[in-house]
């Protein structure tokens, strides 16, 4: 694979996807410290929001340590070169949240839907394109669940609403490099040449780096990851590792490799409540194609109702649940517990 001279933009997820393993308890102070270090290391983009995006504050997904507004206000004024993005899932957050985030100083809004439901993002993407200079990204989650041709149709919809960048998102960490290549290369061929294309991976099958490289080779120019992999499930593509690999391969990220390593080791790992790694349950997510942020919910319900968390996750996969259905987990666990006689 010869990717020498390719320029890509890496986007760190510690302060958004990383909220999942932290149960949304990262403090404003921690966010500011991490954001400053990212700026210093030359990380071009970071995402800051509740793990489930703007408006994610809820019983269903978890109450955060501070509001989106507090996090965004604090981080945006702290960074010089690093640009800050916010995530928005229509159905959870609204255009009011989007306007608030713009007021806090974000440069990028990423509007995310399940891979077959791009049309619910029209309202939000439209609104974002009317805001001067706002980088507007369409983000299709659980992209392994449909074929490349179907995925392309949905990406084209987001492009038609005005997104200047669209993402193929492996929310379950299920994809293998070939599946990434086929999706990204078809999209690259059919989207407008000026539309940027991104890939967001999860490391549940330890494919984060391999999949991200496959994406770059197939034409993606934005790659998500998180330092030390702080993210849902087994985490995102470990960004310091990806940066080191890019460095060796001659792919230009603009990030200082040693500084990236230091952020991972000195700032992020000490923040972890439990090591974010490919444990049995995280592996099950990737193996069964389950939304990564279900991990801790399944563990909690398993403990509460004396069940196997792997059984719960496998069943959630079998039922083809999608992102946002966290409420299904306790409901399902109660059904399983009754069947198995554990309650």
């Amino acid at each position: 694979m010869d990717l020498r001279g390719r320029k890509i933009t890496v986007h760190d997820m510690c302060l958004r996807d990383g909220m999942h393993p932290k149960q949304h308890q990262i403090t404003v102070e921690q966010m500011v410290t991490v954001a400053r270090a990212m700026d210093e290391a030359g990380v071009p983009m970071i995402e800051v929001t509740h793990g489930d995006g703007l408006g994610g504050k809820s019983v269903n997904y978890g109450f955060p340590a501070a509001s989106d507004e507090e996090y965004l206000t604090a981080v945006c004024k702290e960074v010089t070169n690093t640009r800050v993005s916010a995530l928005l899932l229509p159905g959870i957050g609204t255009v009011d949240d989007l306007k608030m985030a713009v007021g806090c100083g974000i440069s990028t809004i990423r509007v995310a839907t399940h891979c077959t439901e791009a049309d619910v993002s029209e309202q939000h993407i439209n609104m974002a394109t009317q805001i001067d200079g706002l980088d507007t990204v369409g983000f299709l989650m659980m992209a392994h669940m449909i074929e490349p041709e179907e995925l392309l149709e949905q990406l084209l919809l987001m492009e038609s609403y005005g997104a200047n960048c669209v993402y193929i998102t492996d929310s379950a960490g299920y994809m293998l490099p070939d599946q990434v290549s086929s999706r990204v290369s078809l999209a690259r061929r059919e989207l407008k040449p000026e539309t940027e294309l991104g890939f967001h991976g999860h490391h549940n099958l330890a494919m984060g780096i391999a999949n991200s490289l496959a994406a770059v080779e197939a034409g993606a120019n934005r790659i998500d990851g998180s330092m030390a992999g702080l993210g849902a499930g087994a985490g995102n593509t470990p960004l310091e590792v990806f940066i080191a690999v890019c460095d060796r391969m001659g792919i230009e990220t603009g990030v200082d490799t040693f500084k990236a390593m230091d952020i991972a080791e000195d700032l992020i790992v000490p923040m972890m409540d439990d090591m974010v790694r490919v444990d049995r349950d995280a592996l099950t997510l990737g193996y069964a194609g389950v939304y990564s942020s279900f991990l801790l919910f399944a563990k909690r319900s398993a403990a509460k109702y004396n069940l196997s968390s792997r059984d719960i996750l496998v069943e959630l996969g079998r039922r083809r649940t999608v992102g946002g259905q966290e409420d299904m987990i306790e409901d399902l666990a109660l059904d399983m517990a009754r069947e198995q006689g554990t309650i």
């Binding site: 809820s58 019983v59 269903n60 229509p90 159905g91 959870i92 609204t94 255009v95 009011d96 399940h114 077959t116 439901e117 049309d119 619910v120 029209e122 309202q123 939000h124 039922r319 083809r320 649940t321 999608v322 992102g323 946002g324 259905q325 409420d327 299904m328 306790e330 409901d331 109660l334 059904d335």
Partner: protein
């Protein structure tokens, strides 16, 4: 047929047609008009076959004769964008408007919670909140009538096939209107609504989760009884309204997991989200009809 009140349905799409099928069975409502905007729409053709007067000219096509045709109740199953105009026009002709769109220009009405008050107030426009609101607000109320609820949250999961273009184009209307209904009608200090669309095949039956946070430690027995009783009330007009699990108590959190299977009148059974809307709309119309038939309420344009 003098013991029925005549009604018009505006919008011959899925919702309007399902409502028509239900209204044909009503003891109190007689649908006489179906109003559309597309001449060759299958919904208008179906209504015509069933003996209704139809027009493809929108509400304006019905206005000249609706008074002499005796229409006293209208249902709007179109979209929030055109609702206000539709409502103004039929109110002027002395008909009550039951709003099935999320426009919410009139007071919210959730039959098992505040139907009596809404009808007693003789409002000329009542709004049915949203499908998620109809499915969950009764349960928020079931908790809040036992003890104070500081926060009510609902998660509605619907199949892709039952989320129509109107909902998709303006999903924020759903979350805003539902959240406001949870507070205003459900009785929570603060409301939050989340909607998730799932494309699985076969389509999943509409499911809703209701989470309430109570100020004080929840009285488990009283809340459980209140929830069971409320589910029985809703089942009177939506037989497929079922408790799946709960109430689950965890500290001050009360969680209720349920699903709604539709009757399958015109819409498929999995579309319980749409069915509960049409059933609630018809139930509201019937309460108005009782008041009209007993002479307690004479809808007039001046009341608007």
């Amino acid at each position: 047929m003098s013991n029925k009140v005549k009604a018009a349905i505006i919008g011959p799409g899925n919702i309007g047609t399902d409502l028509l099928v239900k209204a044909m069975r009503s003891e109190l409502i007689e649908p006489v008009w179906m109003v559309g905007v597309v001449a060759d729409s299958p919904g208008l053709a179906r209504a015509e076959e069933l003996g209704l007067k139809t027009t493809a000219e929108g509400v304006d096509g019905m206005l000249p004769t609706m008074r002499e045709d005796g229409v006293q109740i209208c249902f709007d199953a179109t979209s929030a964008y055109v609702h206000a105009e539709n409502s103004r026009k039929v109110n002027e002709q002395g008909a009550v408007m039951i709003d099935l769109t999320p426009a919410a220009i009139g007071p919210y009405c959730v039959p098992t919670v505040n139907l009596d008050e809404a009808v007693a107030a003789h409002a000329m426009n009542v709004n049915m909140v949203t499908c998620g609101g109809q499915a969950t607000i009764p349960l928020v109320h079931a908790v809040s009538r036992v003890q104070a609820v500081s926060y009510g949250e609902i998660v509605a999961t619907v199949s892709s096939k039952s989320a129509g273009p109107g909902t998709r184009k303006n999903i924020d209307e759903f979350t805003r209107t539902t959240a406001s209904g949870i507070a205003q009608v459900g009785g929570a200090d603060e409301g939050k609504a989340i909607i998730v669309i799932n494309p699985a095949e076969p389509p999943l039956i509409m499911r809703d989760t209701v989470h309430c946070l109570t100020h004080e430690t929840p009285d488990q027995d009283a809340i459980t009884e209140s929830v069971q009783q409320m589910i029985g009330e809703v089942q009177k007009y939506v037989p497929g309204y079922r408790l799946k699990n709960g109430p689950v108590f965890d500290g001050n959190r009360v969680s209720i997991y349920r699903e709604v299977e539709g009757l399958g009148d015109f819409l498929p059974k999995y579309a319980g989200n749409l069915d509960i809307m049409t059933a609630a709309g018809l139930r509201t119309a019937e309460m108005y009809a009782e008041q009209i038939l007993s002479g307690d309420f004479i809808p007039t344009s001046s009341v608007a």
